[in-house]
Amino acid sequence: MIATFKTNINCGNCIRTVSPVLNALDNVESWQVDIENPDKILTVELDDQDVDTVIKSVESAGFEILLID
């Protein structure tokens, strides 16, 4: 499934910080943050329905994250 989140991943440096945690997730096929968008939309392509692990990991890296759909 494709899940989208609203975050405060603002800049290239934030992406650098969040990369290891998202890369390490087993169920994440690919992900991308649109930092041009005011809501800093994170789009994640998941192998399963498990959005909670994504939320937890991003929070653990010190960012705010809110599931949109």
Partner: protein, 735 residues
């Protein structure tokens, strides 16, 4: 605290010994090791008592500079200094040769020289002595201040004395009352010695440069850029910017840029450069990949765990460098002799002076001075500089003809003393490439048809073992079946239709998984074969197994003979391998090695070598993989197989280009011949000069009034050089 620094100003192996000895006694210094080929120093010091500035100042006292701070600037400074050392030597040698030739010709062929001709010799000698020969005087002076002598001292003393004595006789008549023959002019003696010894040093420097360049290139195994997924896009970024946790994509044929763990995808990876194992390894999710290894057929993504200077390969390089420091130093025969010879000559010269003062005719002082000087002039054999390099060059040429590449000339000199040879298994004792060694076919099938299908199918497979099968049958079969529905079953084998018949080729697991019946006859052969360390491939037609093949990394044909031969020479042969116990014991039994160790890591191999050295053994290590490189460096002599990895060759003084094991014993034989020639050369280099010492000291004077003349000095010079050259050339035809 242990630290490594680069050192500037070391020109020969004995400089390293001298710097080490000089620093050893310093307060707060626990240990110090100087690495000559790498031009660096390893110090273990107590920070509270000693500091690096003090150490560096102390090194400066005897003419060496320790480059404090290992920044990039320091590194580039070292490399420019290294490069300029070679070009400086070259310039000095050319100047020396150009001016020496006329001096030599005039001195040898114009016997009755006018004073103006002698003045011409003086002017021609000046650039040779003061420009080309300056390093001998500078080095000798620096060392003398601390009561140390070496070959430089001998050269500086003889040439300096010869030059000044001759100059005095050219421009004044200070000694003229006492000199009867030829006016005591020895310019040619001074300049020829300098030219010959510079020639020897230049040859040595050229040989040394190659080794250092090779070490510098070790880290280039990993690629320069990586395809990193950054924010959903694939970006080509330099490996230096890779961080832990980055996701990297690797395509077929690419080198892996960092160490890490596979996240998605599966593939075969050629890790032979690290493990020495010829067969690529199957890797899938969760498996570790290493920087510098080569991806074969699959695309995969992996998470970076360590990159740049933290990778396994970088760690090996660091260990290789550390091993260079702890490696036992080879004491060169020439330095050994020079260090004894110099004090003896000085004493002899003093004794001569005393004897003439006591017993000599009037004017006592002049005679004493002239004869003491004569002893110093005649003492330095100009062939000394040629003795070692010419023998080594002929020896190296002899070795090259057999396919033995000698990179570090000192290694050839050291090989003769080896009493223990440690061999790696894969690629050293074995061929290093898998081959089909046995086949078995059930009689109830049309074997030709099956073999044909097998070859046709294997041609399409990317599996590393398929190459062995194709090359085995290639001559007898053309493999022209029409293959359809080809499926690569990773970790199992292949499934396909050949001329519309269903075939399975692969391991035992494939047959059980795909419900192929295995007849009892085949099953028993299989059970027998797998007892040995080989890979067995089964072939099934229409889900019934028809036959099987055994593939094995074969032992080299000459292995057993060579090992027996080495043992008969009293050399202890030991095998070390990273492979499993069962494989290693099987091979050791076949080649007749009773002492072997299996399942060793690179560090284990290194420690093993060090332990034996500690017990006083002289070790040659023979290997081909990265896993051998630390041990290859630490061994007294490292011998690499040409079929192996670059890093192994860089870590070794000797490389066997054609990978024939018999060349290990050939190399030892050539080393013995070469060392014998060096010893003979040193004898001939010194012989005529030593024989002339009594004449120089004036022993003949009471009998016939004869004293040293330039003719005797010239004769000793020519005879010793000629003897040395001829003796070295004789090595060429020796068996």
């Amino acid at each position: 605290m242990v630290k490594q620094f680069n050192v500037l100003g070391m020109t020969c192996a004995s400089c390293a010994v001298s710097l080490e000895t000089y620093l050893k006694g310093m307060d707060g210094l626990n240990s110090v090791q100087v690495n000559y080929p790498n031009q660096s120093i390893f110090v273990d010091y107590d920070e509270e008592v000693a500091n690096i500035e003090e150490l560096s100042n102390k090194a400066k006292e005897i003419g060496y500079e320790i480059v404090v701070g290992q920044n990039k600037e320091g590194e580039s400074l070292v490399s420019t200094v290294k490069a300029s050392r070679e070009s400086l030597l070259k310039r000095r040698l050319i100047v020396a040769a150009v001016f020496t030739l006329p001096v030599f010709v005039i001195s040898m062929f114009v016997m009755d020289r006018s004073n103006s001709l002698n003045q011409l010799l003086f002017w021609l000698s000046i650039p040779v002595v003061f420009y080309s020969g300056s390093e001998f005087f500078v080095n000798a002076w620096k060392r003398l201040r601390h009561g140390m002598t070496n070959m430089d001292t001998l050269v500086a003393l003889s040439t300096g004395v010869a030059f000044f004595f001759s100059s005095i006789n050219t421009f004044t008549d200070f000694f003229s009352n006492t000199i009867t023959q030829h006016g005591g002019i020895y310019f040619e003696s001074a300049v020829v010695i300098i030219t010959f010894i510079l020639l020897g040093r230049f040859l040595e420097e050229k040989a040394k440069k190659k080794t250092t360049d090779a070490i510098n290139s070790l880290l280039n195994l990993a690629p320069k850029t990586a395809s990193v997924v950054i924010n959903g896009e694939i970006v080509d970024s330099p490996v230096e910017s890779l961080l832990k946790g980055d996701l990297v994509i690797v395509k077929p044929g690419e080198k892996i840029p960092a160490d890490g763990r596979i996240k998605k995808g599966e593939t075969y990876i050629d890790e032979s450069m690290i493990t020495g194992e010829p067969v690529p390894v199957h890797k899938s999710k969760g498996d570790t990949v290493l920087a510098g290894t080569v991806n074969q057929n699959g695309v995969f993504r992996f998470l970076v765990e360590s990159a740049g200077k933290e990778t396994f390969i970088a760690d090996i390089v660091r260990q290789v460098e550390a091993a260079q420091n702890s490696k036992p130093k080879i004491q060169l025969l020439v330095d050994k002799i020079a260090s004894i010879f110099v004090p003896i000559i000085i004493v002899l010269s003093l004794v001569t002076a005393v004897m003439w003062l006591w017993l000599g005719p009037d004017p006592v002082f002049y005679y004493a001075l002239i004869n003491a000087i004569s002893v110093l002039i005649i003492a330095c054999p100009c062939a000394l500089g040629l003795a070692t390099p010419t023998a080594l060059m002929v020896g190296i040429g002899k070795a090259t003809k057999l396919g033995i590449l000698v990179k570090d000339a000192n290694a050839l000199e050291a090989l003769r003393t080896v009493d223990t040879i440690i061999m790696d298994k894969t690629g050293t004792i074995t061929v290093g490439a898998p081959e089909v060694v046995e086949e078995f076919w059930s009689s109830s099938f049309d074997i030709l048809e099956i073999k044909n299908a097998l070859v046709s199918a294997e041609r399409l497979s990317e599996h590393p073992l398929s190459k062995a099968v194709v090359s085995y049958y290639n001559e007898s079969l053309n493999g022209t079946c029409k293959i359809t529905g080809f499926k690569n079953l990773l970790g199992l084998g292949i499934e396909c239709y050949a001329n519309d018949e269903l075939f399975h080729v692969g391991n035992h697991k494939l047959m059980t998984k795909h419900n192929c019946t295995i007849p009892d006859e085949i099953e028993s052969v299989y059970a027998n074969w797998v007892k040995e360390p080989r890979t067995v491939i089964l072939i099934a037609k229409n889900r019934t197994v028809a036959g099987l093949l055994a593939i094995e990394d074969q032992i080299k044909e000459d292995a057993h003979n060579v090992i027996d031969n080495l043992k008969s020479k009293g050399i202890n042969v030991i095998m070390l391998s990273g492979d499993a116990e069962s494989t290693v014991s099987h091979v050791s039994l076949k080649v007749g090695i009773s002492n072997y160790h299996a399942a060793l890591s690179p560090t284990d191999k290194y420690n093993f070598v060090k332990q034996l050295q500690h017990e006083g053994k002289n070790i040659a290590m023979v290997g081909d993989g990265i896993n051998d490189s630390v041990a290859l460096t630490q061994a007294n002599v490292g011998i690499a197989m040409g079929s192996g990895t670059d890093i192994a060759m860089s870590s070794s003084g000797i490389t066997i280009m054609n990978s024939r094991l018999v060349n290990v014993s050939n190399a030892i034989h050539i080393s013995k011949l070469t060392s014998r020639t060096i010893k003979q050369n040193l004898f001939w280099a010194f012989f005529y000069n030593v024989a002339a010492i009594p004449i120089a000291a004036g022993v003949l004077y009471p009998i016939n009034g004869f004293m040293l003349s330039p003719m005797i000095a010239g004769a000793a010079m020519s005879l010793s050089s000629l003897s040395v050259l001829l003796n070295s050339l004789r090595l060429k035809v020796k068996k």
